[in-house]
Symmetry: C2
Subunit: 120 residues, 2 copies
DNA sequence: CCGGATCCAATATGATACTG
DNA sequence: CAGTATCATATTGGATCCGG
């Protein structure tokens, strides 16, 4: 099948690109952040409320890393009190189909996989 | 666009499934292992050679986790010396398109993203 | 050959207090 | 409001030694 041929044809390059992509999204909250930014721009406080259990420090750090990695744009409004809005860059947006695929795959296999697990 | 509608329509379920999927593939070597199993069954020693830098202990652990998670099948041949072959389960195989997408996304954006990084 | 068990180092995450 | 700084904790990866 042509999919397999395609996978096969550029195996080593793709392997590295896969690892690269994996590193970019490795953080505990990054994919969920991307998810919440997929529909609309969000302020820092909004994100914190949407992500129960994350602390300010770690949320800040993951957002900074995503910004440094070019996935997220950070817009600072010089007001008092401060207002900062986060959104996805073009690159970030182009990752969304993969996010959707991961969600679909997980939804499809979760039940079956957890059954296997419990039968051990 | 229908893609956005689809993303929007089942946001919370998908979010959880995304996190679930993320946990399954979170290990340092798991995606690369899947990659090397995508074309053919591999023996333990083969995998170790294909993954420079991984130690036996950690390779064993990641393979066990993937087996427990239903991604990888482990076939033990009762011979002396022992022979163990690893392959992808059906669920693992169905993840391959996502792996390919991640590779393609990384290959497409890597250069651009790293330029952004260096301009900081 | 294929691991299990153990211990240690590195990294990631979380809680808390403080600040422009 | 949106952070920074610091310390504590949890998770992960790696090295080493031992066993069927």
């Amino acid at each position: 099948m042509s999919l397999n041929k395609k996978i096969n044809s550029n195996l080593p390059e793709n392997k590295c690109s896969v690892s690269y992509t994996q590193r970019l999204i490795a953080g505990r909250w990054k994919l969920v952040i991307m998810w919440h930014l997929s529909q609309e721009t969000r302020r820092f406080n909004e994100l914190q409320k949407l992500l129960p259990g994350v602390s300010k420090g770690i949320l800040t750090r993951q957002l900074r890393e995503m910004e440094d990695d070019g996935l997220v744009h950070r817009e600072v409004y010089k007001e008092v009190p401060p207002k900062v809005e986060y959104s996805l860059t073009k690159e970030g947006q182009e990752f969304l189909p993969i996010l959707t695929s991961m969600g679909n795959w997980g939804a499809k296999h979760r039940e079956k996989l957890e059954q296997k697990k419990n039968n051990k």
